[in-house]
Symmetry: C2
Subunit: 192 residues, 2 copies
């Protein structure tokens, strides 16, 4: 079940480096694409950084609306990650073509991707020079939620193989997030 | 054995989102810290983005020298990742205190961390406003190498559990990189 994640814990949804789906909307037009190049940028208020290529429809929708969502797909959606990464939203409605479900977000107009295990609703920060030069978008996370079967009380706890997050390499090769290991007695987070 | 990775393949060393160690040098002073917030930024020439907090010694050394290395530690170095992330290089020589070995880099003066499985030698791009405002450094990768037991011919192939890369969460919790899955027949990389 989708449950709210307190904003100061939102970075935990991306900290381990999973592949993401970027969903966006401008008016009646919506799209979804895959992005491995996404990471936390700050804790509180939470921020993220994500690369969105200048030739994508997503780029156009994000620039026009100033919003997007980062969705963390589980292994069961691995084929969908490849599918939405293999065609452009300018030519096909990826939601319909690939049977991708949409959920309403709470703070932004862009839809969330159904069947994902975590969602970060983001508003773009005004850094046009960085966008233009590097295709790099910086954004504030304004709402976060996660599937409480795998993330609750500020921790990931993967059990079901099909609900593990994914780490994309290239050429259709993914790794699932593997075994959990606790290191150190009262271990602390490394300074970023 | 450490083997060169062609620069257009360097992004593959970070694409799956592993935790990194940032090593740096300015004159006689060197340091190493942990960073989960690092990702590829471009393919060719390869670039990376990494968050380096303004209060760290690493920040001072990177700003002074304009260089750093991103080192990808394997599971066998998990305790070291926590160790170097738990104290500041202003107070202790982390290399000596934690028995971290150093290797000579090929294109930069900063040392590389011995026992890692991949290394990206980086030169900072001149984006001071972004550094100041977000603690975010953008850099070009000028040399890359990897342990050919786990990365060769442009692919990760993890076997030995102790040589798997790590994904950091918080509070001493890591995930190892899990099982590899190939999806799609002639699958292509999702556009960034």
């Amino acid at each position: 079940m989708r449950a709210d994640v307190p904003l100061p814990k939102a970075y935990l949804l991306l900290n381990h480096g999973p592949v993401t789906l970027v969903s966006s909307r401008d008016g009646a037009r919506t799209n979804v694409m895959a992005a491995s190049w996404a990471m936390p940028l700050d804790f509180d208020p939470p921020k993220v950084a994500v690369v969105i290529d200048r030739n994508t429809l997503t780029r156009e929708l994000v620039t026009a609306s100033g919003e997007f969502a980062l969705n963390v797909p589980p292994r069961s959606l691995a084929a969908t990650v490849l599918d939405v990464g293999s065609v452009t939203g300018r030519e096909v409605d990826k939601w319909a073509r690939f049977g991708v479900g949409a959920l309403a977000a709470t703070r932004i107009a862009a839809p969330l991707v159904a069947g994902c295990i975590a969602w970060l609703e983001c508003r773009v920060l005004d850094e046009r020079a960085t966008e233009q030069k590097y295709d790099l978008f910086l954004a504030e996370v304004v709402a976060a939620s996660a599937d409480d079967r795998v993330f609750s009380a500020g921790r990931w706890h993967f059990g079901d193989e099909q609900l593990r997050s994914l780490h994309y390499v290239a050429g259709g090769q993914f790794f699932t997030t593997g075994e959990s290991h606790a290191v150190g007695a009262a271990a602390q987070a490394p300074p970023a």
